[in-house]
Chain length 356, copies 2
């Protein structure tokens, strides 16, 4: 090994292992000037997962980039097709978990009231408010049951799930307006401080935005918030959308998801904190729990939100599951997955600690 | 788009966006049967970083895989070469941060006693115990000052840093024995519950192992622990070693780091919890704070340890910085980096909350 290479390697490792110094870096050629190209590589299943979660990994399908529909009609057709599968799964999940539900009109918004088989004594007859995910465009109707059932049965609490108006017909801020309307109705009879507001993915985005809207309006805030792998920056493409592409069955941001974001944002400014909560004034935000995974395309969005909350002095707990992709914590809808039970336990403990 | 492809895509997205079901997966070809190949891709600098942290990203050097030395003499030569750079940086860091230090013999172990310019009133004259990183083989002597200075100046507390015996001459459990000896001496005069034990990378591994050893022995445990991007599984290669390879200047586990692990493990079983703390009996473990980044090769090791601690009912806080690589939180040794100040603040708050 030549002295020069030896020195190069030594410095590189010194930079890496032992905290870098600009002095070293300047001696070296710019191998990584902010932009890097990653070569092809083969990735085995993660170690340290339960056998049940390994099975989930083995079943994974990584789709190709899906182009966004180009017309409103094509979007509606896509929406109906996707939601049909989700609705069937939602109903199956309700049956499998012995959860009952009814559809109600709450403040002129369609909503699901989901009652678990057993209600935890501590919660009594209170309800939590849920906002479903599905890239703003999808996941409505009975599809919303999937997440609502997961929460209701996992937390043993009654859940009201907002079937908010969606693009392509109803862009921002319709979803937030609908969530706000249901929230107000629920908290007429129940202290806001006793009430959790939560959602996953786009639902996490809308839940966070609704809290920011309540803050703006000076109305009572939830006692606790759960933002599961939330989209928190609709203006910029956070890092893990790119670094983890190929590992997460969510696929990619380009194509259909970018199209869905455009539809939802509509004529608004995507940097608006009600669209990109990471930009919000978070002082006084309620205690918030965030969950993601090391193969989750929204890991960066999640940890950026966590940091923003912590910077504002907010009680905010982060849980990252190894090897999990977007929303994987809900993999126990129709089967036993210990990591999912663990996530439900974390959620229960957090709500139990922070809700009055 | 053919009906078949449409159905395929619809199902894939349903799986991804809205929680998968095995029924869907079985209809699809096994695109991702546990093992996947990631194609070449180009990754820009992460969004949402401070200008100072963007500068760090731009300076990054991703080294090639470095082969492990093959003889004890070659290891010793490598060790001396690497440490020379680290030692210089350690002394610079002490000067830049106006920290003073002296070398002492504590319980027959070489140690650094590091005193910050200002001591926080709340800490008074107490000391925290630090275990340096550097892949078990490197980072000794004045190199240890880098991390010790970072902690002492960031927390405004006096720090004792253990200059433990290292491979190739001293494999496991010498490092733990030395840390234990210093710990016992420090906690003769100061309640263990008032004392933090902490380290980064291999130092996090040794710190966690030392607490497990104290547990085994029934001796008083630290009041709080900080494990920064710790190695927690020396038996298996955790996922992010592979998924994030190419993004982190730490390089790769294969080659020199694997060689260093082999040297440290020696004749022991790498699944031994004192080598792989993720396997430990963690019930009753002290409150622990863990820090990592979304580009950190040890992100998986970190979050797996966090989950193991939480599963044992331990108070454990996780902080993951977007776009950061292994140990990046210490990037403010010789310059201003707001994310690093934020990490120091989190650490201060955690210790302040949990130490008596």
């Amino acid at each position: 090994m030549s002295t020069k290479i030896f020195h190069h390697l030594g410095s590189s490792i010194a930079v890496a292992l032992f905290v870098s110094t600009p002095a070293f870096a300047q001696e070296l050629p710019p191998i990584f000037p902010g932009v890097t190209t990653l070569g092809e590589r083969t990735i085995p299943a993660p170690v340290g997962l339960s056998p049940e979660m390994i099975e989930v990994v083995r079943e994974r399908q990584i789709p190709p980039v899906i182009p966004a529909p180009e017309t409103t009609e094509a979007w509606l057709e896509f929406q109906a097709l996707f939601d049909a599968a989700g609705e069937e799964l939602g109903r199956q999940a309700a049956e499998f978990n012995e959860v009952t539900y009814e559809v109600r009109d709450i403040a002129s918004v369609r909503a699901y009231v989901v009652t678990p088989k057993e209600v935890d004594e501590g919660w009594g007859d209170r309800v939590f408010v849920h906002v479903h995910g599905g890239a703003w465009v999808f996941g409505g109707g009975d599809s919303a049951l999937r997440e609502a059932v997961w929460a209701a049965s996992g937390l043993e609490v009654k859940v009201v799930s907002v079937d908010y108006r969606r693009p392509p017909l109803h862009p921002f801020p319709a979803a937030i307006d609908d969530t706000l309307a249901v929230w107000r109705e629920v908290t007429e009879d129940q202290d806001a401080t006793k009430t959790a507001l939560f959602g996953t993915s786009a639902g996490g985005n809308i839940a966070l935005a609704t809290v920011l809207r309540l803050k703006e309006l000076g109305e009572p805030l939830p006692g606790a918030v759960f933002a599961g792998t939330p989209a928190t920056d609709l203006e910029n493409v956070s890092d893990t959308w790119l670094t983890l592409q190929g590992l997460d069955p969510l696929g990619a941001r380009e194509g259909m998801i970018a199209g869905a974001i455009d539809l939802y944002v509509g004529e608004a400014d995507p940097s608006n904190p009600l669209l990109s909560p990471v930009n919000g004034d978070l002082k006084g935000f309620p205690p918030t729990i965030l969950i993601s995974g090391t193969r989750d395309l929204l890991l960066s969005d999640t940890v950026r939100m966590h940091r923003a909350l912590r910077a504002a002095g907010v009680v905010a707990d982060l849980h990252v599951y190894d090897g999990q992709t977007h929303g994987d914590y809900m993999q126990n809808l129709l089967r036993y997955v210990p990591e999912s039970l663990d996530a439900q336990k974390e959620l229960y403990q957090f709500f139990n600690e922070h809700l009055e």
